[in-house]
Amino acid sequence: MAELTYRDAVAAAIAQEMRRDETVVFLGEDVAWAGGVFKTTVGLLDEFGEKRVRDTPISEQAIIGAAMGAAMTGLRPIAEIMFSDFFAVCWDLIANQIPKTRYMTSGQVIMPLVIRTANGGGVRFGAQHSQSIENWAMMIPGLKVVAPSTPADVKGLLAASIRDDDPVIFFEQKSLYADKGEVPDGEYVEELGKAKVLREGTDATIIALAAMVPRAMKAAERLQAEDGISASVVDVRCLVPLDTQTIFAEIRKTGRAFTVEENPRLCGWGAEISSLAMEECFWDLDLPLIRITTPHIPLPSADALEDEALPSVERIYNTVREGLD
């Protein structure tokens, strides 16, 4: 095991896959010479050269369009969109073209491509550079949607995404980039579509994604220490495919479920889990599922307001404790 940061795990996964498969290429703005504006791709240019690691003009539609064309003709491109907010400027490709091509060609064309992006808030970048848009991607049939919370998952799930024959949207949470964690040595690939139970509990089930996972863990530890409440924590990891089996099993164990979502409240992924749980686990529930989310607002960039808007450890702790009262 080696300790890596969340950001270093990105480059480690890409390098691992580029070494084993020469059809893997990587393109985006400032990804090569600068090593990424978040320094997530340092060293890739040196190792793989400009033919496979390519800086592009500021043209998101061309980045995603070219990646799509390359994927349709035998490459496995990884395209970076610097901030997930910019999905809005290449959404035709992401929503109308990429996820529908296999379907509309009766499987004649495969679309093995990954779109990596820095998602979410916590770093004061304001309403147009801090959005959590995993729910946008989740609602498009044909896309897979991954959002890791740890360096190990970044490596394992990104490698799996690159090997997948379907288009994967890979959301890196930008406030986690400096976080460190143990990452298995050698070739490491995880499986897409598997949630992970990080903490077993008997009183409450907290279901979280990406940057909300470490916060949920801290809240669970505090609930245990201060109130004797035993909470399990589930890291969803992949929104599509969604591992309902693991999630439902954890909800049934406690009968009291809470989602922690960074996205604005309306139509967040937790609403889907809540709806599914009502259909599938209704008779096992002791409480309605409670959603802890950012309010339905554009994310403010002022320090104090951003901290207030995102679900905090304090808010998760209070909501679970009060929910069990």
């Binding site: 703005e29 600068a34 504006v37 800086d55 003009p57 500021i58 309010p295």
Partner: protein
Amino acid sequence: MADEKIPYTQYLQADGSVVGNLPEFAEDQELVLALYRHMNRARRFDTKAVAMQRTGRLPTFPPALGQEAFHVGFASAMSADDILFPTYRDGPAQMVRGVQLEELLLFTAGDERGSDFQVPRCDFPQAIPIATQTAHAVGAAYAMKLRGEKSVAVTTIGDGGSSKGDFYEAMNFAGVWQAPVIFLINNNGWAISTPRDRQSAAPTLAQKGDAVGVPGQQVDGNDVLAVYHVVSEAIAAARSGKGPALIEALTHRLTDHSTADDASRYRDADLLSEQWKEEPMIRLRTYLSNQGWWGKEDEESMLTELDQEIERAVENFEASDAPEAAAMFDYMYAELPADLMAQRAEVIAAHGHEGDGS
């Protein structure tokens, strides 16, 4: 980079000597000294803001170091009734337009009150997404024309931004509608780490106007007299109904893209020292001094005044209260819908009052 079909304007060379016939305004001492003062304010403010970011007193800041002649030149050429659609590096231009230093600091710190600047009320806030502002400028210009106003919309973009589809589409609209809008490209040679020659294979960015019938020209962006002149003429033409124009100013980005960037990773240090020789302040000071308008004492007292002005702005900025937590719900709708009222109440309840956000 010049192209024979694309006009190029320069009056002050790097050593301060004059080429060609200076336009009349260059004899206007008051005007030219004001340009110089604005450029100095911009640079001193820039230095202060970067220092504040390095010491944790400001978040990410995009310096304009080396591009002051561009910003001050074009903003000074605008009339009060014209409307600016700026990008994120245009703080120095906003200062010329009347935005207060304190407001720029608030904006940089993520406080929306900083975009609620008191002067000029009609200018747009900085667009941080790339190239979106170009289409807004065309829409505003169309509205002005429809209402029979004589105002002009001015929008800025970088060399990188000129690769965006929005930019082409906005220029095409402006051409078809003959809208009074001036597109200014601050070609500082870099889009974060991407150099100009990897941004476009076009020999000039000004010629991008050709494809859509918008006349393009280049100007030495390190020469404030040249920038002021070509932008003034383009604005006058647009005001008189002659339609849009595209002006590419050739500048140098003498520092990082922003405080979050480290250009030493990708930029040759020798190139940077060559570019410093062409920076815009010294050549203008030489001109002023040759005219007998400026001496060492003038310089010293101006810098002292500017530093005091900047310090006052920083003090006011740092003394301003954090916004109340409930303010995050303000201005979302004309009237807050009931479900959001409930979410707002939850935030207030967590504080026991409107909340100071901490």
